[in-house]
């Protein structure tokens, strides 16, 4: 009896155990350190809010706001691009072709992200490919400065970096929708737009959830694209934390990380409250739960 219980629960328990040991414990350590104090260059255990005060009072808060805004922009833009593509692949194209296109979307990402970021600077620079073509074709007289080292450049870098991470989960949930539900909606007389809004879109919410999370947290944690493609001194949270560690200010680094964690968890909480669990977990939840 016990053996059967063990066999049934061992497999699901493994990842939870892994998460607790290798994620929760180090995280607890980080949160603890954020309250410690710093005497000279030595870190001592204590319970103080000085690091948090330093964070909220300083320039780092601006970095946080900028990371947040850039991530939201990139996520929304990414969704607007990825959803139609995923819809097209799930409904209007043969499964073989869809899989091929999805694979094609993942190929560029085996190339290191640093090399891809530099490739973009080569394309977007004043003497880069795009400016050269624009001037050669006569569309502009001067190179466009705002293509690189600007918010636009960072947005381009972020969106193109996270496209496959968004298309795939969207396609996954769209292609899994029971077609008979859509057919039923037609048979009941709903026009295509209404069918989409009332049937397809809600059923694809798990994919939207996954895609948004991937894009948002991915962008928020980016450390290379901001410094390689961003404007003067453009940086995001990863850079800010490393900079604090550069002067051994571990409590401050831990405080920044905790603030980021708290912000993300709050967003997740908002999502949980706004949507019923069935909306983004779908049929994983047993009926009647």
């Amino acid at each position: 009896m016990l053996r059967r219980l063990l066999a049934r629960w061992a497999f699901p328990a493994l990842p939870i155990g892994f998460a607790v040991v290798f994620v929760v414990l180090p995280l607890a350590l980080t949160i603890a350190v954020s309250f410690w104090t710093r005497v000279g260059l030595v870190v001592r255990p204590a319970f103080t809010f000085t690091s948090y005060e330093a964070f909220f009072a300083g320039a780092r808060l601006l970095v946080f706001e900028r990371s947040f805004l850039a991530s939201i922009e990139a996520t929304v833009l990414g969704l607007l691009l990825a959803y139609p593509i995923a819809y097209f692949l799930a409904f209007k194209v043969s499964p073989r072709a869809a899989r091929t296109v999805l694979l094609l979307f993942t190929v560029p990402f085996l190339v290191n992200y640093i090399i891809r970021a530099f490739a973009w600077t080569w394309l977007l620079g004043r003497t880069g490919l795009i400016n050269t073509l624009l001037m050669a074709s006569g569309l502009t007289n001067e190179p466009l400065d705002w293509l690189l080292y600007s918010d636009v450049a960072v947005l381009i870098g972020l969106v193109t970096s996270y496209m496959p991470f968004m298309i795939f989960p969207l396609w996954l949930s769209l292609s899994g929708i029971d077609r008979r539900l859509i057919q039923a909606s037609w048979m009941l007389g709903a026009p295509p737009a209404r069918t989409f809004l009332r049937v397809t879109l809600p059923l694809s919410l798990p994919g939207v959830f996954a895609a948004s999370i991937f894009a948002f947290v991915g962008c928020f944690g980016e450390s290379a694209i901001p410094v390689i493609m961003g404007g003067v001194g453009y940086q995001m949270m990863g850079n800010s934390i490393a900079s604090a560690m550069d002067v051994l200010n571990y409590p401050l680094a831990a405080a920044i990380s905790t603030v980021v964690l708290a912000a993300m968890m709050s967003l997740l909480l908002v999502w949980y409250l706004a949507f019923d669990a069935r909306a983004f977990l779908g049929m994983i939840l047993r009926p009647g739960k």
């Binding site: 260059l41 320039a59 780092r60 550069d246």
Partner: protein, 392 residues
Amino acid sequence: MNSLSIWTRRDFVRIGLASAGAASAWAAIPGTARAAGGTVNFADIGVGDPGGDWSLFTKAANGWNVNLVAIGNAPSAILNVLVAGGGTASYDVINIVGGMQKPLVDNDLIEPLDTTRLPAWSRDRNIAEFLGKGTPGFNFIGYQDKLYGVPTVLQGDSFAFLPEKTGPLDSYAALFDPKFKGYVALEDNYTTAGQKTALYLKHANLAKIENPADMTPEELKTVVDFLVEQKRKGQFRVIWSSFQQAVDLIVNKEVYVIDCWEPMVFVAKSKGVNAVYADPKEGYLLWAMAAYLTKNPKRSAEATQAAYALLDFMLGGWYGAKITLLRGYMTNTDAPDYAKAHPDQFPAEGAEKVAAITANVHRKFAQGGTWQNRWPKHVDVYETEWARFKAA
């Protein structure tokens, strides 16, 4: 009929056990044992890699190999890896930009050196000339009067420019000249760009700064206020944070004046771009790279001897000439003579280049300027103020 039904539960269990066995076999191989025989684990920031060929060292050190691990140079990267990542046990020698001894020694990460075990030490005249005790240069190899590092690279920094676009330039004022608005780049580093700006402001009498190498919080605030004002006026195109980025800026002619390191000019020239490294009248920013011995009580006596052999090797002519040729920095005084005396290993133009670079950097050190200070007294304030500059 789906194809997976031919698999039974037993198959999955077998596969699972096999992969677990393979995974644990992989995990059980300690990283260092991949090389046969003794290996010195050498963490380096990329500059100290002589192209992968350590055969001359192996011959001189009774068959010990060198395993080079590429690490980052940021203090956070180095400290993280040494303190948390088990680095003192995984690395024997680390070769980084010097000046960080304080946090390294305070955290018990490096050992003082016994120069009697380094026969090449006395042959390197740079040490006595520029890095003696009591001089600011000593801060790159020692701490509190004790010697910790072997100087592997020495260099004097200024800035680069494209003469066809700017004409001849001889002062850091060019970085802030409104003529080049939007075509200037600075390094994202308060101990180089920040210190050079302070040097300029002091010489131009635009600010009262005692010692650009170790500024007070008030002096620092003046420097950063100046930089923020320049940034708001649109003077800078970008603040670069990697070698690759700076080289691209020059080679693509994205900027005309750039605060950078000399090797970038060499790379640009090799790609056909006419870039010149300036000789500013305010002087140069002097610095050195040093190789340290990590503190590992569990290291065997043979391994320590091999590590000392590596440190000695890096003070030698072959290594020095190779690094000067590959990276463009001055290394040690044996290098030019060695390169000339071994035409089989260094072709004639290579030897000339080594001699030219060494002579040029020597001249810069003789002229002077300000020694880079990587760990100023108020380094916290430096970091916060620089963050303010970047966020402005």
